[in-house]
Symmetry: C2
């Protein structure tokens, strides 16, 4: 029995997120189905990041156990033949049996993209959140600095969660603007709460537009209630960039 | 009667190109329909670049004549309310009656994007041509230099055209590679033949992969036959960037 690690990229537009659920088709389900077909064994993957409906990924991680004789690094090629165009496994390799994509120490990176201009741009609308009011990037950068560190992020967590320990560590949080008017919030951390990146993005937007001051972030963290932070920014602007494991 | 100029952006994935035709829905048709509805007059736009099926645009130009009392710069906002998400008019303004988007002197810029890596990336597949064999960017750059200038581009023109004068002027042609493995061929010219940019892209790909030498471009131009050049690269990698008019 071998444990295989997959790096999975997808356009989340047409999926109800990663995790299997009754209301629609999910990435996890499509992977399970394709792997079961190829390997002739009942396969159930375990994913690292259970991305929401509409969220994209360049490098989510999943593992599964198999008895296949297909060389581990060739599984991705066989698998991609069975997958739709909007899910592509970037690589496959064998890992040790004690590797678990969620329980092992990892650093995850996400990017949230905002198109900040007067008119929407059709070729960007699947991967950016269009916001026409002018955002002050300097203020957003200052607010982002307060996000970095080990904090109780309860104010930045969906109330729908059942998690009790809401302390998480953010290693970096940067805000940049491209020539094409795309503001990118890039955030790396060792773990994230439900909707945490989207609520951070929504809060930084409130700062950028002047509804909140950059210096209000420490107070928002201290209050430990969801209503203290900004709105949850729409899913389509969010992309999981990748995960690194310290092995 | 006023003449109105529109700058039109679209994701061409779901359209049969710009120009009205029997086989499917086109950008021109959708614009005519929306304008006729808003202005209460029968409107027929004239487009600058009759982009192919699947080709995208950030700034194609169209004009039409109208008696409307809506201020010219506000027409785009009214229009966007009636347009689908994948067509967005970026601006509208009044121009002189003798302005014609195809007959007036203009400089058009196109970009052709190739994703050159081992695995496709789902979030890029609508706007790039995936090509997994390694492309030598230096060779492509050298070949691109030969494209610049006033040449007879008959070898770089679809045989389906009826145009007789195949001399065109290319003002610049550059090849760059991004951190994300995207090779961008950016080309500006005063006019292009049918499929010309896609055939130039296909020929530069042949150069990049070693099937053609950069120094073969002058000979290909001289032969004046379509078969001398490389393949027509797929439509989805092509985006019309914009058009500038010297008024």
């Amino acid at each position: 029995m071998k444990r295989i690690k997959l790096v999975v990229a997808y356009d989340g537009t047409n999926y109800c997120g990663w995790q299997i659920q009754p209301s629609g088709i999910t990435i996890e389900e499509v992977l399970n189905h394709a792997l079961t077909k190829i390997l002739g064994e009942k396969i159930r993957v375990i994913g690292a990041s259970r991305t929401d409906s509409g969220v994209h990924s360049l490098g989510n991680v999943a593992v599964f156990d198999t008895n296949t004789r297909i060389p581990p690094d060739k599984i991705c090629y066989a698998l991609n033949q069975k997958l739709p165009e909007d899910i592509v496994v970037q690589s496959s390799c064998e890992v040790s049996q004690d590797f678990h994509p969620r329980h092992c120490y990892s650093e995850k990176t996400y990017e949230y993209k905002i198109l900040n201009r007067k008119m929407p741009m059709p070729t960007l609308c699947r991967y950016t959140y269009f916001y026409y009011r002018n955002l002050d990037i300097k203020k957003m950068q200052k607010a982002a600095e307060y996000i970095v560190g080990r904090h109780d992020f309860k104010s930045f967590c969906s109330v729908k969660t059942s998690v009790e320990d809401t302390v998480r560590e953010v290693l970096s949080c940067t805000v940049t603007k491209s020539m094409e008017d795309i503001i990118t919030i890039r955030i790396t951390g060792t773990g994230f709460l439900y909707n945490m990146v989207r609520i951070i993005a929504g809060t930084l937007i409130s700062v950028g537009v002047g509804e909140l001051e950059p210096d209000s972030i420490p107070e928002i963290l201290k209050r430990r209630e969801r209503s203290a932070a900004g709105a949850t920014a729409p899913a389509k602007g969010l992309t999981m960039i990748g995960i690194t494991y310290k092995e």
